[in-house]
Amino acid sequence: MANNNVVIKSRGLTKKYGDFTAVDHLNLTVNRGEVFGLLGPNGSGKTTTILMLLGLTEPTAGSVEVLGLDPARQPLSVKARVGYLPDQVGFYDGLTARENLGYIARLNGLPRAEANERIQRVLSQVGLSEVANKRVGTFSRGMRQRLGVAEVLLKQPELIIMDEPTLGLDPEGAREFLELIVQLKSEGITMLLSSHLLHQVQAVCDRVGLFHRGQMVLEGTVPELAQKVLGGAYRILVEANGTGNLEEVFRRINGVVNINRAGQDRYELEAKKDLRPEVARSIVEAGGKLLSLNIELPSLDEVYARYFKKEVDHVGAVA
């Protein structure tokens, strides 16, 4: 165990299915206590990466360490300490919630008394205590997803990997689910979640990695990505009128990357940092009237849209 603070570390991780490269030389590092989001379109290699992290599929090349262990060689130790919530998790519909959890507890080798106690605790943690003895077949999508989390928590994992956890949840269900993630994060559990629902990822993830054709093309915090992809990370909305050319005035401010005219008296400035004071000052100095001034943090949606638009343009140009 080289570094106790690194929970996931992959170097040159590659998976090929025949000619198709699902994951291409992935270098991924996730630190303890972090919530890391894997983003990317369907088929970009997120699930394959997750399966390799769990030792459920063998890498073609490269190395991966999870909690300091090799998932391909020590899968039992890895799987005993890592909780996995698969994409659209399934249950034995004929069994009750408690029985489903009981099976997972036995597979983890928990002694009966401890299993019962833990089942009770995780059920109340996800708010399913009242339906514990109902058959899972009668559960709603949101309840099933929460039961999935209960199953993951049952083994008291150090790392939780979730594949598309909020897919198919209604807005209320998704919000509750994200609250649960935040709560788990506060308990110090490291989480890796894949999603293409970007605003949700943005709300809970410390860092994100953008997947494209098996490669992690971008990695960092949301503002960092915005910096890289959008050029400016901050968007300042100005409503002002006055004499002279305000665009010219804005252009002189140090740090403004781009200026868009959004309406008659409206301007959109992209900046590398929060330039609201400078903008206000220069408008006043230029003799204009400042009507409103707002800042908008860049959304991941935009980063994503802009990045993939660039990619498509690039590919189009090559073709």
Binding site: T48, T57, P75, L76, K79, Y84, R106, G109
Partner: protein, 326 residues
């Protein structure tokens, strides 16, 4: 790299059977409480009750004349009801197929497979656990029926079974369980190969029908074309008959039928082609001791078990290579 770390990189950690009994317990509980099994067990119990009742009615007249009257409970029919073993020949495959046709693809279908395999167990434990659970369920059901028949026999015939009768019928029970094991393994292989449980069930039933209906005919035809019988050469007739017999033994149905015949009927001394000249000097109708009957059916037992292991191994290899994501 030290020797120890070298070892570590090569070997998989832990036992492949970790979690095996958790799988067995869960699968058995599932089977035993399922409606599907309830219907099939009810069917077999009714069949057993009906045929054994018919048999006791017939046997009551000859009780006391026969040393092995209890064994006749299984083999005696009374018009229009055939004997119990006649029914078992197709009820056991049906039961076994019903137990296993959705065992693996069902996990994919319910999307539980990746979650289960993300627990600290190997695939080995999941597959073998499912097979064992099926076999135990089958054994449990058949043993219950065996006990039921013995009980009905004691009441209907008014005498207890002898030690040898109990021993022979227990061997018969064991043969029946192994016969079920083949169909269990077959249905399981299909449940690994086919994504749809219905396809797996149909494929299993197709194989069973093939062996039940067509294999005998095909074996005869093949023997006739390989060794044409000529009246001028009597040995060709014998050779053809022996070849046909050998070919039919590739069917588990034949293996099972012959094994039960020799076990339940101590007077059977050979399962091959017997010429009248070979019977010269034999006292016909004298029962063989159990040990000799067992020698007679030993190859059949071996064949049944070997086929089961082979099928399981095929399923195991396919399952180990299967990608978990659909």
């Amino acid at each position: 790299m030290s020797v120890q770390s070298l070892k570590q990189t090569r070997a998989r950690e832990g036992s492949p059977w970790t979690g095996l009994w958790a799988v067995v317990a869960k699968e058995m509980a599932d089977s035993l409480t399922s409606t599907r099994m309830f219907i099939l067990e009810l069917l077999i119990v009714l069949t057993a009750a009906g045929t054994v009742y018919g048999a006791t009615q017939t046997l009551q007249e000859t009780v006391g004349q026969d040393r092995f009257v209890f064994l006749k409970l299984f083999t005696t029919g009374r018009d229009p009801i055939p004997a119990f073993i006649g029914f078992l020949g197709f009820l056991v495959p049906l039961l076994a197929i019903a137990l296993a046709f959705d065992s693996v693809n069902g996990e994919f279908h319910q999307r539980t497979i990746s979650k289960v395999l993300a627990q600290p167990i190997y695939r080995d434990a999941l597959l073998f656990g499912k097979f064992l659970a099926g076999l135990f369920t089958l054994a449990l059901a058949l043993t219950t029926i065996w006990l039921l028949i013995m009980g009905m026999g004691i009441i209907g015939l008014g005498l207890p079974p002898s030690g040898e009768e109990v021993a022979r019928s227990l061997w018969f029970l064991l043969a029946t369980i192994f016969y079920g094991g083949i169909w269990l393994a077959l249905a399981m292989v299909f449940s690994i190969i086919f994504r749809q449980p219905a396809t797996a069930a149909l494929a299993s039933i197709a194989v069973w029908l093939f062996f039940t209906v067509f294999w005998g005919i095909l074996a005869d035809l093949a023997a006739q074309s390989i060794i044409p019988a000529r009246l001028s050469e009597p040995e060709t007739i014998i050779a053809q008959a022996e070849l046909a017999k050998t070919l039919t033994r590739f069917s588990p149905n034949t293996l099972y039928a012959e094994a039960t015949l020799a076990l339940l009927n101590p007077a059977v001394r050979s399962l091959g082609v017997v010429l009248p000249v070979q019977l010269f000097g034999a006292v016909l109708g004298t029962p063989l001791p159990l040990s000799q009957s067992l020698v007679l059916v030993w190859p059949h037992f071996t064949g049944l078990i070997a086929a089961t292991i082979l099928l399981f191994a095929v399923g195991y290899v396919i399952f180990q290579r299967r990608e978990i994501r659909a």
